[in-house]
């Protein structure tokens, strides 16, 4: 796995992937749909897979002494690393936003603990839709991105709408930290579990599809 991870980071990773991590700083924009910040990771994953297709990455990797399952495993490890890095990079900016002498985000969810819980679930949804399609045919990376983006934007629309009209979300979750901390921590935990479960399911499905795929 170590050489495969080296290949993922030094050869396959699209140069925009680390740059998009810097977009975590968008959490300090006073009013903004903050979920979009996490969507940039999905965009980086799409660029990496697209650039892989243009560079014959799958064929190159298959010629190396590696098992097909490990190729999928390495790509997931890379994606999880990228998404985790985005989450970690976003934390200080969320803290800064919390301490800015301004009212909370007027567009939707505040940059708080619950937002991260929802973002975990959102990234899990992206992984599930994107990779379920991508590993059925690695040439259909555009189709995978269109469907996963559609799913994510539906999620964002629903989540931001809830922040305005659903009393529990509006009055308890869309508030400054550390108010309603236990509820927010529960959302963080549940979001993480949902995200992890969706990614795990996507991984299992991807391995099955990729091992059957004719290149």
């Amino acid at each position: 796995m170590k050489p495969l991870m080296k290949k993922e980071l030094l050869l396959s990773m699209h140069p925009t992937a680390p740059l998009f991590l810097l977009l975590s700083s968008m959490l300090i924009i006073p009013n903004y749909p903050y979920y979009v910040v996490f969507f940039y990771t999905g965009l980086a994953i799409f660029f990496t897979c697209l650039s892989g297709r243009e560079n014959n990455d799958v064929f190159y990797t298959l010629m190396l002494p590696v098992a097909q399952k490990d190729i999928v495993k390495a790509r997931y490890a890379f994606v999880i690393l990228l998404e985790a890095a985005q989450m970690i990079a976003a934390v200080p900016f969320a803290v800064i936003r919390q301490h800015m002498p301004l009212p909370g985000n007027q567009v939707g969810m505040d940059a708080n603990i619950a937002l991260f819980g929802f973002a975990f679930a959102m990234l899990g949804l992206f992984n599930f839709v994107f990779f379920s399609i991508y590993y059925r045919d690695v040439n259909e990376v555009g189709k995978a991105f269109v469907w996963s983006s559609a799913a994510v934007f539906l999620f964002i629309t629903a989540a931001e709408t809830c922040a305005h009209i659903v009393p529990f979300v509006r009055d308890r979750l869309d508030t400054a930290d550390p108010q309603y901390l236990s509820e927010k921590l529960a959302v963080l935990g549940i979001g993480f579990v949902i995200g992890a479960a969706l990614t795990w399911l996507a991984f299992r499905k991807s391995v099955r599809s990729f091992e059957r795929l004719d290149l």
């Binding site: 170590k2 050489p3 080296k6 290949k7 030094l10 050869l11 560079n55 014959n56 990455d57 064929f59 190159y60 298959l62 010629m63 190396l64 002494p65 590696v66 098992a67 097909q68 059957r212 004719d214 290149l215």
Partner: protein
């Protein structure tokens, strides 16, 4: 090995390679050469069959086998904008027996500049780079899918020299091509695929000497002789046809020796009837 597609089928493809020899894999475009080679490595999943390398099953020993096999599809056709040194630094980390000294020696011998990218190399140099990588991980078997397509005659000749030299060192080569003159120069054995099944598996001399060429200036003959002719076709000064060497001896006809290209053209022509 069998593989069924809606419009094409590999039918019980079976062959073996002789150690330290060059085996030419010929067939016209679409005959199944690339599908066979991809199936060998599981890039395409056969519907049935078993592939064995060095007497070991590929499916059970994929990791070990790939350490000892180099597969070249044309030249290096991946990451064309990355420097060779970057590609090599990644690739070599996958191989247990990477020989850096040998790699540098091949670069020097073939004038390959590690600072260049594949897109800056000619088609011949890209093949040489791919060969340098395969040989530096001490591949015992090279499987080359049309490595000479797109090369000028001089580069092709140079590549064939390299392959013959490697065979002298005990490397086994399976070399798919439709440029049969390349195989006339360097192959020991021949594997001929037609319409998804192996038509011939033989040493090249026996295969070539098994046929003769007959030329007719006016019209094609009738009767028993016509029945013996294979793939009659028009030529500049009349007609040519192939005939099996034993039939040619029996009828005592004036005929000339055949080469691989002539044999392939006439056999394919016969198949069009």
């Amino acid at each position: 090995m069998c593989k069924h597609y809606p419009a094409f089928e590999l039918k019980n493809v079976s062959f073996s390679l002789e150690e330290g020899k060059i085996t030419g894999f010929i067939g016209r475009n679409g005959a199944g050469k690339t599908t066979t080679l991809k199936s060998i490595f599981n890039f395409v999943h056969p519907d049935g069959g078993d592939v064995r390398f060095f007497s070991k099953s590929f499916s059970e020993n994929e990791f070990d086998i790939k350490q000892k096999v180099g597969f070249l599809s044309g030249g290096v056709d991946y990451y064309p904008k990355k420097k060779l040194k970057t590609l090599t630094s990644i690739t070599k980390s996958f191989y247990r027996e990477w020989d850096e000294k040998a790699y540098e020696e091949y670069l020097r011998m073939w004038d390959l500049n590690a600072e260049k990218t594949p897109s800056q190399l000619s088609a011949g140099m890209r093949v040489k780079y791919a060969l340098a990588v395969a040989l530096s991980h001490r591949a015992k078997l090279l499987i080359l899918d049309e490595p000479t397509s797109g090369l000028d005659p001089v580069s092709r000749d140079e590549l064939l020299d390299v392959l013959m030299e490697l065979c002298g060192k005990g490397v086994t080569v399976l070399f798919s091509t439709h440029i049969t003159s390349d195989l006339d120069k360097c192959a020991d054995n021949i594997l001929y695929i037609k319409g998804g099944h192996i038509l011939a598996e033989s040493d090249i001399r026996s295969f070539v000497s098994g046929y003769k060429v007959l030329k007719f200036h006016d019209a094609l003959p009738d009767g028993a002789l016509r029945q013996k002719l294979i793939g009659c076709r028009r030529s500049k000064n009349g007609y040519t046809a192939l005939i099996r060497a034993e039939d040619a001896r029996r009828i005592n006809a004036a005929c000339s020796d055949a080469d691989l290209e002539t044999i392939m053209i006439h056999i394919e022509k016969e198949g069009e009837k």
